[in-house]
């Protein structure tokens, strides 16, 4: 099971959760499915990290939660991104792009030199 799993960097999970919630409110299970889908099964959220992360994000005021009815008519807890959360997501996304660009450049350069 761990073969195709890529470990998430500290703090990246928060960003992914906020991203998943950007379009619509979702329950915890939905968030985990969504992250797997978007990442084409590369990223798999450990259940052990998901719920503490949700709690943390709620404490920070980036998401809120409320009980609602799921797509198959069951009571479920839905999470919704807040205004503060969207701002945070924008900041994190910008940071991430800068970082990944830099990392890509370094890795690309190395490959070229070796090639």
């Amino acid at each position: 099971m761990a073969k195709d799993k890529t470990d998430l960097l500290q703090g990246t999970l928060d960003m992914l959760i906020l991203k998943a919630l950007q379009l619509q409110p979702m329950h915890g299970f939905g968030i985990s499915v969504r992250i797997r889908q978007i990442s084409e099964d590369v990223l798999r959220v450990e259940q052990g990290s998901l719920y503490p992360a949700l709690y943390r994000l709620e404490e920070q005021g980036w998401i809120t939660s409320d009980w609602g009815i799921s797509e198959n008519n069951r009571k479920a807890k839905f999470y919704e991104i807040t205004k503060l959360g969207r701002k945070q997501l924008a900041n994190e996304t910008a940071n991430w792009e800068r970082l990944s660009l830099a990392v890509n450049q370094v890795l690309g350069a190395k490959l070229k030199d070796l090639g």
């Binding site: 299970f29 259940q47 052990g48 719920y51 503490p52 709620e58 809120t64």
Partner: protein, 880 residues
Amino acid sequence: MPKIKSVFTRLRRVIGRRSFEREMAEEMQFHVEAETERLIAHGESPATAHRRAKAMFGSIDARTEEVRDARLGANLTVLGRDLRFGVRSLMKAPAFTSIALLTLALGVGVNTSMFSILDALLFHRAPYPESDQLIRVFRTTPTMQDAPHSPANYVDLRDRTKSFSHLAAYARTSVNHAEPGQPAEQLQMLAVSGNFFAALGVSPELGRSLTPEDDQPDNDDVVVITHAFWQQRFAADPSILGQSIRLDGELIHIVGIMPAGFEDPMLWGSISGWKPLSFAADDLEARGSNWLSMLGRLSPEATVAMAHAEMNSHCAALALVHPATNSETGMNLIPFVRSTQDKMVRLLTLFAMGLATCVLLIACVNLANLFFARNVLRTREHAIRAALGASRIRLIWHSLAESLVLALGGGGLGLLIAAWVNAALSSHSFWGDQPSALAIDWRIAGFAFAAALLAAVIFGLLPAVLSSRTDVNGALKQSGRGTTSVAHARLRHGLIIAEVALALILLTGAGFFMRGLDRFVDRDVGWQTDDLLTARLSLPETKYPDNAAIQVFYDRLESRLAALPGVEGVSLSRTLPFYGFGWGQYYIVEGHPPLKAGTEPMRDVNLVTPDYFSTMGIAIVEGRPFQPADAEGPTPTIISASMAHSLWPGESAIGKRIAHPRQPDKWQEIVGIVQDVKFASNLDSSGERFQTYRPLASNPPRSFSIAMKCAVPPATLVESVRQIIAELDPELPVAEINPASRIVRNNTANFALIGKVLIGFALLGLTLAAIGLYGVVSGHVAQRTNEIGIRMALGAQWRDVLVLILSQGLQLTLVGTAIGSVGAWTVARILQSLLPALPPAEPIIAGAITGLLLATTLIACWLPARRATAVDPIVALRDE
């Protein structure tokens, strides 16, 4: 809006912890079900789908635990739950819990009561308003820092001072209280100047206190009595005010009663009342006659330094006018409360405090060891919980909760123990001759409680933090009873060594003190305290106005007492050598080069009747005792053997002459040399002045001691002696009538009490150390059960196993003993410097103490070692 909602959510979580947990479980349940449905949709069978979904999600408990961790620190309710958890897990380990509680309780309890005693002795507050403004004023001379004042100097200083709002004088005095038809009694009182009560600032309970009008010579027939005396003697009858009692044969009016506690015996000794201190005209002439104590209340704007400077300047001015009596004197100002404390009791209390700290340290070390042992045994449990998802913080937090529960329980028990110890000590300790109350100070109790909390938290957390570093996989793979690192073991061994060393120091300190005290009481003092009955009398001036009258009484008393059946010898003397001679004189030696005035040496002088030496059993080394004829003409003197040796080495001192420097023509011829005596009750001084004697008849004192050598037990003669004295003078009270040996015992009673407390401490420390050692060796055995089983299966005999286990415990003990010996030696040296008169303990005592320690530790090691030999190899090996 979201903000308000978020606040509401948080509030709901803090209040509704239970519903939050339920919601959490519900949410996770939903997650698993949704996953199952997704898998079914992907074509799995419902059963497989459900199993896979659960496997993917993992344990709901572990998830819940993780969310709880995330909540930690944000949620106060966690504390309450974890405390409950702590109580539950402690109750599952009753042995650990009770030993830890006991250790904490004893450590806290003993130290609280020790600190209470220290507080009572060292930080005693006078029961007077703004008592920090009360200052004792002493006179200084080239040789003394605490000399008294003469009435003339007192009056001058009182009239000149600006920095004291009241400057009072007082002196202890004893008066004979005798009513017709009643047995006479001797009362201790303070003679005080008229402004004394104004200086202390306390109003009387009934009537009035003394005022400056009362200390005039023809107006001083009044007295103020203590609340205690009023209750005991007059059954608290308020009509006693204005009535008169007969003191020293005169009618004196009771004008006031002071409130209870005003006469604080710790500050003043025990007294029954206050009478005016009036000065006759000739008192004010004799500027060189110093006998007054001085006490002042600083005026609001003055400081001690200002008052000191002012008093010194008055002193210098007086010295210019009266150079003969006042030159080379100065003033020494000491806060009142501090001035009355016995220096030696203070030092001894500090000594006892030091030993009490040892007990606290041992208790702490024990606690640390207990927690270590518990954590080692729980490594596996912790590893399992960690594997189930409990975080490191969570495990440490649980240890902390346990520590808190223990500290609260142990601290509470400790306060109970402190209350009990204080009650027990109160009934056995005395200031003067009154029992003293030792109350628990709540500040001290709070401090001790905080100390318990701190100790439990530190020693509870330290092992938990260390063991939380344990590698989970390693701990689980290991099939033993748990793991322990080398550093961990070394730390525990270090703690045991420290414990043994501290116990040895404690035992030695207490043992040396007690043994020294025993030897002090039983030592050869150079006079016979056994078979000796002693008493003191004070002849009032009104009835015995001159030397002739006093001498007549002496002669009648001596012959009546000597005729008593069972009495072998009677002597009268100015004093008896319990504390010291209490009187010294300067002397010059005939034929020696003259010395500068004021630099002459001093000798102790006692005035004695001719039979004194035979009655007291003091050996005459050379020459003769006094004879009745010695009272006339130039009076001779008798000196001690050490004085004779030192002044006339190698030749006889008999026939040599000494004199007082101010009476250089009145030579006193040495007619006898007697053995030196030691002061039987005095632990402080080893008596550095030379002892000399002069005939009692040469200067008959009103206040004197009786000594009777008895052929029967001295206590049986007490009533006959009282009767004889009552027949000679019915108004004369007998004070301190007691066998000499009992007086010596009573005088050292407080020291004996301190000694007993110390012995109690030491045994407590020893027990704690033994428990600690037992715990460590037990843990050791438990951990090595497998190894022992294998050894035995391979043919090791029980003896080998015993040696294996014993040797480790004994190694630690021996190292601890070696380190402790150094500490013990230091403690013995400190004790010796505190109490120079205390005979040093014999080396065999040190040996016996070390033996006791080794025997105790041997038992503590042997019990678990024997258990190890009983290990059944089959069971031990199966116990995987």
